[in-house]
Structures are given as C-alpha cells and as structure tokens.
Symmetry: C3
C-alpha cells in the first residue's frame, strides 16, 4: 500500500469531527522571516480567540506562535521565570482524561504568566452528577474562567464548548481528533534542530498508530504547512481512511504520503516521530500482538540507519519503550523527547497569551 | 395537601441535625437600609466565627453579607480582580463529595482575596486510611488552615468540626441539611432583580425535591427572614415532614406554605427556584419515574405563564434540563442561573472575609 | 525476647532497600551548639542535593536542619507567613499513595517559601497509562520541577528517581523503608520539650508495628544520632529482623534495644512514640486481632504510669485511637501529636530550602 498526494484541496478526516474547517492558507516560505513578508502589518495580527486545531492556522500565524514561544523560552530559562502578561486572568484546566504532562505543562505555563489557575478533573467533579459539558463550561466562565483548557475523550468536544464560550478555549487533546499545542511544540522543536531552521522539503515520518492519533492529525497540518515532505507509516489496519484521504489529496504544495512500508518511509528521513501505541488496540483486534507490532514497526537503532545521518527522533510521550521505540533510540543522541516536553511550556505560554490577547481586545 | 403557617416559633427539621439553634431574630424591614437602622453601631458587627447555616443569621447580619458582596462584586468585575484582605491566610477546601461549582467558587473567591488555598478531596486523601473527621480538621489547622470550607455527605458534620475548631468553618453543603452560601447567593441575586430591591411580600416558590434539598432548607431561613412569602412545592413524597413543620409554624411574621398543588404555588409568583432532582430518588421508590415527575412538576414555559409577568427563575445547578426545568426556561430571558454562579464568588468572598475578621479579632 | 546493642557498625535493614549507605557519622554532643564546634566553617555546609533518608545525615547536619527549622518556625508564626527564599522555584508533590497531612504539609511549606507548587497524584495522572516512574520524573523536570517530593508504595523508589534526577528529590515516604522529614520533625518536637534540649541518654520508646514502619526506621537513625537510648517494642511478629540487626549492633555509641516486653520498654521512659497499626496486618496473619493487640501493646494511661513523670507522647498520625493509643493519652497533656504536625511545616521548609541551596549552588 502506498498512496501519494501532491494536489487538490484538503478533505477532513471523516469520523465525527465537527467544524473541520480545513482552511489552511498557502504557506509562505518558511525560510523567509515573518517581518520581511509583512512590512506594513507587524506584528502580524493573531485572529483566533480559540485554538481547537492547527488546520485553521496560516503559516504566518504558525510562525507567530513559534516566534512568541522563542520569547517565552527566554522567560522560562530565567532562574525565576515570571511574566505579568496574564496577571489576574482566570485559566481553568478541565481534564476529562488522565494526564500528567499536558495538564502540568499548561499549569506551569499559565503560572509563569501570572494567571490564576484552577484544575478541574473529572474524578471528584460534579460531572459525575450528570452535568452537561456546556453547563460545566458556562459555570466555569461565570466563576471567572477566561481561558478554558480542555481535554476530552470525545472528538470534537472542545468545538462544542467553543461555540458557546464567551472566553477562549484551548484544545488539550480531544479523542482521536486533534492536539494542536502538541503539534506546535513538535514543529518548534524540529525547527530548532533542522539545519537552516526550515522544514521546507525535509522528509518527516510519523510512525505508528496513525489511525487513533490526535497527535498525528494535528501534526499533519503544521508539518505540511511548513513545507515538509510528510510520510505517515504504520500497519495497514492503523492507516485506514488515510489512504483515501491522501488519494484525493490535501491541496496546494502539500506533500503527504501514506505507506505501510517502513523501509521506504525511513529511507533518507530527516526526522521520525514515533507515536504511542495504545494497548487497547490489541483488544480491538487491530493488531496481532505487541511483540509483532514491535518487530515490524518499532523504531530501532538498526532501522534508524536507513534514515539520513543525524535524523531527529521525536515522541509525544508517554513512551512504551521496547514497543514503538527502542530504549536506546529513546535515550539516544538524536532523541528530542525531553526537549519536546520543555518546549511545550514555551509553546503553551505563547498560545495562552495569543488567545487571551484576542479575547481581551474586545473589552479594552 | 396544603398547610399554611404564619405564627408560633421555629422548629428545626428533625433528622439528625446538631445545633439547629433556630434563633432567627425578627426581621427589619428589608427596604430600610442597615445604616438607617443602626446609626450608633456602623458598620454592624459580624459575630460569627463560623457559617454553618443561615438559621442563626439576623436580618441585619444577612444584609451585611449582601452589602459586603456588593463591594466584592466590584473587585470581581475588575479586569484583574485582587484584594489583599486575606493575604497569607490559609484556606482549605475539604470536600468529601464531588463538586465543581462550589469548590471552584470558593477557590476563586479565596484567591481573589489573596488567601493561600489548599484543596483536599476525599479521593487521594488519607481519610481513606480511616482518619477521623476531627483528626483531619486538627491536622489541617495545625498545618496553618485558618478557614476550613467543608462539604460532607453527612448532615451536621460541619457542626461537629466547628465545635472543636480553633479557626473558622464554612459549611459548603452537608448532606440534606444546609448550604448557607448557596442561600445567600440566591437571595443576593433575587435582591438585584426584584423591583425595588426588597423581597418583602414577594411570592417565592421553591419547587421540587424539597425533602432532600439542603438548598431548600437554607433558603427557607433567608427568604423568610427577608419577608418573602415562601411556597414549598413538590410531590407529596418529597415534602414529608415539612407539612408538620409548617403546621406548627415557623414563627413571627414568617410566611411559609407547603403544597403539592403546582398551579396554586406558581400563581402570581415573583420568583421560582427549581431544585435539582437526584436520580437516586427513583431507586428509593419515592417517585414513579423521571417522566412522570417532569410531566407533573417540571418548570415549563407553559406553567410559568401562571406566574407574574417577569417572574424570575433560579436553579442552584447542576441542572437536569428536561427534568425539573425545561431547556427553554433554563436558557430563557427570566433565568438567573448563570448570574447565580457569578454572584456566588462575591458572596463567598464576603463570607470568607467576614468570618476571618472574627477569628483574627481575637489575635490582633 | 530482648536484644541489646551498644557496639559495632551499622547494618542496613535487609528488605529490598537500594543505596542504604549507612554512613552515619559519629555524633557530636547534642548539648554543644553547632557554632561552638565549627568556628571556621559557619554556617555549616549542607552537602545533600536530595533527602532520601536520615541515615546519611551527620549530627551537625541534623542540627543544621533543626536550627533552620527554628528560623522557619518564626516565619510560620507570623500573621501572614511568607519568605522569598524559593520565589519562582518549581516544587512538585508526586504522590503515589493517598496522603493528606504530608502532601498538604509540603504544599504549605513550599508556598510559605514562595515556591511554585504543582500537585500530581496517581489517580488522574498518566501513570495510569503505564508511564514509567523515571519518565514521569524526567517529564516533570523538563516542565520546570526543581524539587520533587515523592511518596511511593515501593521501598527505594525515591532512590531510583534521585539517581537520574537533575534537581532535588525529597522522600516523603517510600513503602516500609524511610520517612526522613517525619523523623526530623519528631526529633525537632522532642528537642523542644525534653528538659535541657538534648536527647543524650534519654530513653525513647518506639512502640508498635516496627516491622512495617518507615517512620520507625528513619527515627532510629536520628534518635540514635542524637544520643538517645532507643527501645523498639512490639509483638514478636512485628519486630522480626530487628533482633538480628540489634544483635550485631548499630555501631559507635548508639544505644538500641529490641524487646516485646512493654513493661521493660516503658519503665522510666522519657518519651514514647506510638506507631500506627495498619489494619492490613491482621489479614496477613501477623496479629490475632485488633483487640488482642490493643490489650497487649496499646499505649494506655495506666501503662504510661510506668514511664517517667512528664513522659512525652508522640504519634506520626493518622491515629487509630483505641487501638495503638488510648484516646485519653492521645488528647492528654503529655501528647505532642498536634505540635508534631505544626512542626512538620517548619521542618519541611528547612529541608526544601537546604536541598535547593545545593542544587542552585551549581548554577550560580
């Protein structure tokens, strides 16, 4: 199986995803600076009150996030990181799924910006009493929440919430649909390490359980917007639907290949992003066994030799070492896994301050 | 069934409620300002180190809470709400029941006042190890808690805690007994919207599962203290005990009617407060079915036409829309549900600062 | 059964405890001040980036913790306790076991020092997704955690974490192994109340389920380092292993006796520390019944008459009143239980600031 796409317009991934709005604008050249391109309108305006997915972001907007994250990264690097940008602004982490890294990342990012952070997790919340998601949102906004960071097991849930919200909604992962801040931190991390600082024409492989991965979906938008040559690779059963999507094309100059041939995918790759394999997939009969998966699609040091020298390795975490990624690769010199986590704080600070700037603008 | 009461002294609601102390003082005229009434002692002293229920509050004390909430509301309305009133004071939310709105409301209120807030919920606490409630309180006070906000499934639990406490205890809901800050925010919200700003002589209906509602109990004290003509309405099985109580009367000029005739209750009402119907009531055999309940006692737009034009609609939340309240009523122009939540922050700021002023007085 | 030890070198307690490193230095005279002993190097250097157990602490280091806690105690006693010592430093409480007092104690301590505190508990964290302990630690450090306070059901887990940590690790209780801040606060509390302020030669009894107690283990190191005459007392089944350990001796001038004769243990005791009896021990067949245990080893007022007049009573909490300690003893005039909790905040502030001073030193 191998499908290639280089033309026509984007089609959203079918399953139950509201407001796909695949309106990615044509990319600027990633190598040219944002300032050079928009002399009259600097800094470029950020129009999004919410961040629900990366599909609606133009390349200049993506660059704005990354450039803002650069500034935020300098704050984080201080011995005592603290900015006043969101002093007194209410931020609520509303998590309907277990999470350490994403919840703490948003919490730390918001605190660095002096926001007032409240955590609400499903266990121990009145959602158990049957309160609807929209009621919960309205309640939190009435209590002073200006930015709602939401993780939910149902694809599209943050869109439903955003439609009724008076503040800002940031999607921290919804079902198998989207995880925009993860995609942005992945791109940010890649940009810092790719020679020349541009992904244009670079071969980036997303390897593993693509079908169930919100990380893969959101990365597809940002990586292709950056001009990367994106390859999605995994077992046939975990690519289903993407071939058809790729066959109709994702539009413009986007380059996007779907394959289950791991050797073809890894050959001369500039970067590989291994995806977490959810153990639940076995039960669903989509995979014969973990061992089988690991043997055929695990990212091992040996396989990595097919890639370009210095090929970068990413993983959104948490990793199943020995399954989708070998321990020596995860901890190897090309691995950016730890840096991804660290960069996540700067990216989330950037996103929090950008969406807040929009919702505050109306009130000023 | 219909019982009416306009005389004799208050009797506490029987089931296992310690320290009922039904010592509500005679009401002042709600229309007259507190300042006019007490020229020599202004501002009026707040004597309560704890807030366990509204039954012990005199009308001037209730007015003091509402007036303080007005000031707090101005702080909340600021772009960056923050007062220094409780800087460095330890506040602990000790929640033995799931809650989003009440816990977050207290947390936000305490943070607006610059208090140091700690959350302790049962899941994940050593209460699982069998530590007694009193030991937990003593431990938290030894760790610096000055104000303990407690929610507990057992009626009376906060009274037990308050008796041994060296600081302040605020009841955030105990079993079916009391929920004083909810009653105060309900009254505050009503006062803002009733023409003339006084509830004296206004007909206020509390509709639904009165029997199991701590919200109904605490509201009964504040609403009658405000001079409202209170009607409790619901199925006979969910009013049990209240008829007897009403038959003996609740004292003074308090007006208080118990009925299962919803048309009589709603006729010419100035405000209706729908109560949450706990799904567990079906299992207990107290109700035939949700559908039956909804058909006979649900607050629909049609039924609301019996009330006065502009009749206000309240609900303590979370709502079962389509059960005790129709969606179009919940979201209708007369609905104050969202404002109730917002006002809860100001009320809790008022209560936190008032009880703290008492416990700090002894030390100054 | 009675074994006594006054000589030879320390031997670590056998079961599965990594890096026991039983290198306790010879004690100084507890009565002499630290300043008198080290005129050239004052204040004494604190060399430990982590605090995993008390066994590696020299007596001057223990004194440094206690003296620092004295200073911290003055901050805590202020109306609005706040120091700037850890402003902007990330502290994460990573708790794999339920806890109220220890988690809140560390949270309050860190906030008093102006640290940025994040709580992560197992329920509601991605540890459920199978992330390894080391990955969790690395993730948290990448997110800005400088001090990781960890409680884990597995003995030795904090050692594993500390070995890979770039920051500081504080053991908040690991399995049955160690609970160093508890031992330090116990010693601090005793020192405040023992006449003369020194434990040298004082008889201190640790009573109860010694076998399963991390509190007993960590206390053994600090109490013997302080020159106390330590007696471990409990049912034979709950002392197993300690007799052998005692028989070979714990070294130097340490005095350490193991016995199941409670009368001998309590006779002329200056202090008794009752340990919590885990209900699980019954199921394991180590005890016939709670009643039997209570009858033979419960700390009653009558038994306490065997001890010296004014004998101090401690318990690490939470207490099973009526089992290992009688209610009248727990609440009696000799009981320091509440003060232990309060002192825990000062001790944890001292430990947090000391370990942070080491990890910051390298960066300055």
């Amino acid at each position: 199986m191998r499908t290639r796409s280089t033309s026509s317009t984007p089609r959203p991934w079918p399953p139950s995803v509201p407001e796909p709005g695949s309106t990615i604008a044509e990319r600027d050249d990633g190598a040219a600076s944002a300032a050079e391109q928009r002399p009259a309108e600097r800094p470029p305006a950020w129009p999004h009150r919410h961040l629900l997915d990366t599909d609606v972001l133009t390349w200049p907007q993506i660059e704005l996030v990354l450039d803002t994250a650069d500034v935020m990264g300098e704050i984080v690097a201080r011995r005592r990181p603290r900015s006043e940008v969101m002093r007194g602004i209410g931020v609520t982490n509303l998590f309907f799924e277990a999470s350490t890294r994403t919840r703490v990342s948003f919490e730390v990012a918001a605190k660095h910006l002096s926001a007032d952070v409240v955590n609400v997790s499903v266990s121990g919340s009145s959602v158990e009493k049957g309160e609807s998601l929209l009621d919960t949102m309205r309640t939190l906004e009435s209590l002073g929440t200006r930015v709602l960071v939401i993780r939910h097991a149902t694809s599209g849930a943050p869109y439903l919430v955003a439609r009724e919200s008076r503040g800002s909604v940031i999607n921290a992962g919804d079902g198998r649909h989207a995880h925009p801040t993860q995609a942005l931190l992945d791109l940010y991390t890649l940009r810092l390490h790719v020679p020349g600082g541009s992904l244009r024409g670079r071969k980036v492989v997303v390897l593993g359980d693509v079908l169930h991965s919100r990380v893969a979906r959101s990365n597809l938008w940002t990586l292709t917007a950056a001009g990367a040559d994106v390859w999605l690779c995994g077992p046939v059963t975990l690519l289903r639907g993407f071939e058809a999507w790729a066959a109709t094309g994702v539009g413009g100059e986007r380059r996007f290949t779907v394959t289950s041939d791991i050797a073809a995918a890894l050959r001369d790759a500039d970067a590989v992003m291994a995806l977490r394999l959810q153990q639940e997939r076995m039960a669903a009969g989509l995979l014969p066994s973990l061992h089988e998966y690991s043997a055929r699609f695990g990212l091992t040091a040996e396989r990595l030799r097919l890639a370009r020298e210095g090929c970068l390795v990413l993983h959104p975490g948490p990793m199943n070492e020995g399954v989708e990624i070998a321990p020596e690769v995860a901890a190897g010199p090309r691995s950016l896994v730890t840096e991804q986590v660290a960069n996540g704080v700067a990216i989330r600070m950037a996103v929090l301050s950008l969406v807040t700037s929009v919702s505050m603008r109306g009130e000023a």
